[in-house]
Symmetry: C2
Subunit: 348 residues, 2 copies
Amino acid sequence: MRHIPVPLISPADALPGPYLLFLGDTKEPAYAKTAFGLRDWAADRCVGEFHIEGATVSTGLAAMTPAQAHANGARALVIGVANAGGFIPDHWQPALVNAMEAGLDIISGMHTRLADMPALQAAAIRTGRQLIDVRRPPSDIPIANGRKRSGKRLLTVGTDCALGKKYTALAIARAFSFRGLETHFRATGQTGILIAGGGIPLDAVVVDFAAGAAEMLSPDASENHWDVIEGQGSVFHPAYAGVSLALLHGSQPDVIVVCHQPGREHVLGHSQFRVPSIEETIALTLQLGRRTNPCIRCAGVSLNTAHLGEAEAEVLLASESLRLGCAVADPIRGGAAFDRLVQACLEN
Amino acid sequence: MRHIPVPLISPADALPGPYLLFLGDTKEPAYAKTAFGLRDWAADRCVGEFHIEGATVSTGLAAMTPAQAHANGARALVIGVANAGGFIPDHWQPALVNAMEAGLDIISGMHTRLADMPALQAAAIRTGRQLIDVRRPPSDIPIANGRKRSGKRLLTVGTDCALGKKYTALAIARAFSFRGLETHFRATGQTGILIAGGGIPLDAVVVDFAAGAAEMLSPDASENHWDVIEGQGSVFHPAYAGVSLALLHGSQPDVIVVCHQPGREHVLGHSQFRVPSIEETIALTLQLGRRTNPCIRCAGVSLNTAHLGEAEAEVLLASESLRLGCAVADPIRGGAAFDRLVQACLEN
C-alpha cells in the first residue's frame, strides 16, 4: 500500500514540490516523524533526503545534495525534523542557504518562523526563493456562510487528540483513490499539509473564521467527488472543542468516521477529564453536525491498536464491531476489516 | 438605574480612564452606538464629549476640549462613533493628535488599527501617549486547562447573534452589584470591553486559544464572587458555534441565561438557517456545558422585546414564563419580571 500516492489538494493551493527531505544532524528517530510521514504518505512528492554532519537517522530515500536534488526535479526543501525545543538551530542555516542557492524553496512546519531568521531572509531575497511556513493560514479566509456545497465529504472525528484522525483520513483517501474515486485529502494540520502539498492549519486561524476556513478547504466539487478531511481535537475536549465544532460545521460532512485509542481513559494532558465513549462521540457529533448537513451519518470506527499484538487487535476489532453494530477497523493494519469500513463510507 | 456603575474588570487589565467620548462630525445617531452605550453603562467612566465641526449627534454629556477633559480627570479619548466604512477618516486625525497633545491616550474599537495611521503613530511617539486597539487580544493567552476555578460564574448565551447577550449580562451584573454582591462584568467584545474598561475580544483570538481566553477572563475568585460573562454567538450558529462552545467550556458557568428575540425566525445573515427554539438552546447548552461544569443550570430567559409595546411585552413575558416554567424578563424593561430572573440566578 505504501506507494500509492495520496491525492493532492487543488494545485491552486499547492506547495512547491517535489521535496528534498532535510534531516539536519538528527540522531533521534522520534524527532524525524515529519520526514517518515512524508516518505510513507507522499512518496511521489519526495526526491531524496539531505543531512548534515552528525546525522544517524535516515528515511531510506537516496541521500543527495540540494544541487543533485534540484537536478532530479526537487523544487523545495522540507524541514523534516524537529529538535527538542521545536526551533531551527543556527548550525542548520548554512545547509538551508545552500538549498536556496541550488534553487529550492524552503518549507517548514515548525513554530519558529523562517522569515524571522535574518540569514535565511537575506538568502531568500538574494536567490529569489520562497520561505514557506505551513503553520500560517491564508489571509483571505471568509466568514462561513453555511451554504450546502456540492460533492461528498468525509470528516474524521476523535474521542481525543493525537489518536489517528490524520492517518485514518489519509488511509481512507488512499483507499477511495485506489477504487478509482475522484478524491482529495484535505489537510488541517501542518504534517497533513506537507503530505497533501496544501491545506489550512486550522489551529492557527482566528476563531471567528474557523468555520469559514473549513468551508474554504473543501469547495464545491462534482457530485461523485469525495473530500476526505483531517479532523482536529474532539467536541468533548476542554481546550479544543471549539476547533472541532467549527471544523464539523464548516466541513458539513456526509460521513463521519470516529477515531479512538482503546485503553485511553483520560484526555491527553487533561487527566481530570475522562475520554468520552465511542457511542457518546457518535451521538454528539451527529447531533451537532446535522445543523449544516441534516444527512450526516456515521460510517464506522477507526481504532488505533498500535499497542496491541496482531491476534489481540483482531479480536478487539471484531468484538467492537459486534458491540457497536458498525464497521470497526485499524487503517494502519488494513485487511478485510478496513475494506468493510471503506465500503461503509461509500454506501448510503 | 442609569447611574449605578457597572463593576469593572480587575485593574491589572484595565484600560486607561476616565474617558472623553469622541463623536467626530457624526450626523447619524445610529453611528454613535458606542458613545451611547458608554454613557448608559459606564457613566462613571465618562467625563464628557468632544466633537469636531459638523457634528449634530450628542450624548448629552458636557462638551469639552481634550485639555478641559484632561483637567477634569480624563486620561483617554474613546472613539465613540463609527462611519459607514468602519474606518477612521483622515479629517478626524487632527482632533486625535490634539487629544494626545493634551495628555490623553487614544482607545479605538474600530477595525482600522490606530498604529497603522502614520500621523497618529508619530504623535503617539512624540507625546508619549498610547494607541490602544481593543480588538487586539492579549499575547499571553494560555491553552485552556479545564481546571475548575473558585467563585461563581454566569454566562449569557443566545439563540442567535445580536439580540441582547451583552446588555443582559450588563443588567444582571448591575443588579447583582446593587444587591451588594461582589461582581465583575467580563467583556468578550469591543463595546463591552470599553464599558468594563477591560476584557478580551474573543472573536479575534486564534481558535486553539479561545477556551484559554475564556479561562483567563474569569480567574479564580472568592466563593461568593460572581463573574457575569458576556456571551458570543450561539452553539447553533453556522459560522460562530465554535466561538460559543469555546466560551462555554472556558467560562465553566454555574448559571446560564438564554437570550432570545421573539419573532426572529432566521439566523441574521444566514436566512437558510432557522433560529433554534429557547428549549433547544437550553438543552444543548446544558449538555455541552456539563463537560467543564457538571453543576451548570439555566436560571431563566432574557427576551429582547424592543419591538413590542409595553402591554404586549408584559403579556409575552408572563406567557413565556408559564410555558417554559422559568423566569422570563426583558432586562431593559426591568420590573418585577427582571427581579425574579435575578433572584433565580442566585438561587441554587
